[in-house]
Amino acid sequence: MTGSGTDVFLSELGRALPGIGRGLLVTLEATALGAALALLVAFALGLASRSRAVVVRGAARVTVEFLRGTSLYVQLFWLFFALPMLGFRLEPMACGVLAFGLNYGAYGAEVVRGSIAAVPAAQTEAAIALGMGPGLRLRRVVLPQAYVLMVPPFKNLLIQLLKATPLLSLVTIADLTFAIDQLRSQTGATASAYLLLLLLYFGVAALLGAGMDALERTAKERLGQEGRNA
């Protein structure tokens, strides 16, 4: 990288900042909406895969395997390129959020299922002994304890989701990667542009991670698990 290249990059960077800001917002929006949908899907499929009805359980398991097995990349492209050929055209952002939500939701379903299964059976028995029905047991006894176990894997999935969002730039969305790629092609300062891009993603990932760590800490404190390990 030459000195003049860096100068051009820095002066162009100033002018490109609003665009980068908008791209960052788009990336954050897609991450937030995708994660929200994924959470919904994770709980729906995770709870269904513990249902006592074989049909419900089977349908949930097949759905999870299907969504996990077909590759996020293909799912997004299928929604964007193939679905219109069946007569349904979705906004590009809707394609992105749907693909992220369904794919990571399927991974999250395993987290929900596994965390619920990891709550000791004795807790459910104690709740039965107090006359609690199945819904109350799940809501008031099992989920509050399973929640602590869910947070760390959900943190990983959230950061994975963030790292998948550059895919949006491949389906015409002006996300962070798209914005900085434009800056790169305008300035030719490839190294600086990509380093900046990676640093921005790193920063967002660090913030999301810190937020999830804080959630985990408070959840553990409520269960009285802090202090004992410290």
């Binding site: 039965i128 002994a129 107090l130 006359g131 609690m132 029905g133 304890q145 009285g224 698990q225």
Partner: protein, 264 residues
Amino acid sequence: MPTETDHGPEKVRFDRVTKRFGEQTVLDGLDLTVAPGERVTLIGPSGSGKTTILRLLMTLERVTDGVVHLDGEPYSHMPSGRAGGKLVPADERYLAPRRRRVGMVFQQFNLFPHLSVLANVTEAPRHVLSLDADEAAARARDLLGLVGLADKEDAHPTRLSGGQQQRVAIARALAMRPELLLLDEVTSALDPELVAEVLDVLRDVAAGTDITMLCVTHEMGFARDISHRILMFDEGRVLESDAPERLLDDPEHERTRAFLRTIR
């Protein structure tokens, strides 16, 4: 609802109850009746099916064969409208109101780790009995006073000693005002020096209420103090059944004598 009354007044009746876990038969055609207000202690070697009896009454297990009755009506089963009143396994809707009359204290306490001591005790009265918050809290504070933990209501359960946790568990069970209380080896998980505080609380409960109690324990002194009757179990059957002083001091069966020697 058709009930049989030729057994006299009964709180609990096991009618030829068999329970198998896979190949292993834990209860083998057991007949057992407990009268209202009666306090019965079950003793016997481990694996003899004592805990299974409590777990069947708490509906934590289902019978393999036979019927469990509660208050003179079927409990493990329910009369089926379609099959002309024949008994079919009870469903959740049938069980829910009946199960509320039964409470249980567990060997491992099983307190809810995400709730404070007070919230552990108020949880079920509020959400199962639909008591309002003040009423549930007042009831819980009374009971925490009874078990000597009035000053611990804001504490976190995991911060308490085993004996304190078990006393909270007793208060939690009593808060539901059960008619039948099941005590499943409630001191077995405790360090020896913490056993007395729990048993003292239970002696008070036994002396101050007419709750029917079924108790599995290895504490023979406690069993003698609170029980109207002691049942000696062996291999899924009742070997003998008698008043505490008779059964503990002058058992009929050699197996009972041998068992009592092993735990003294």
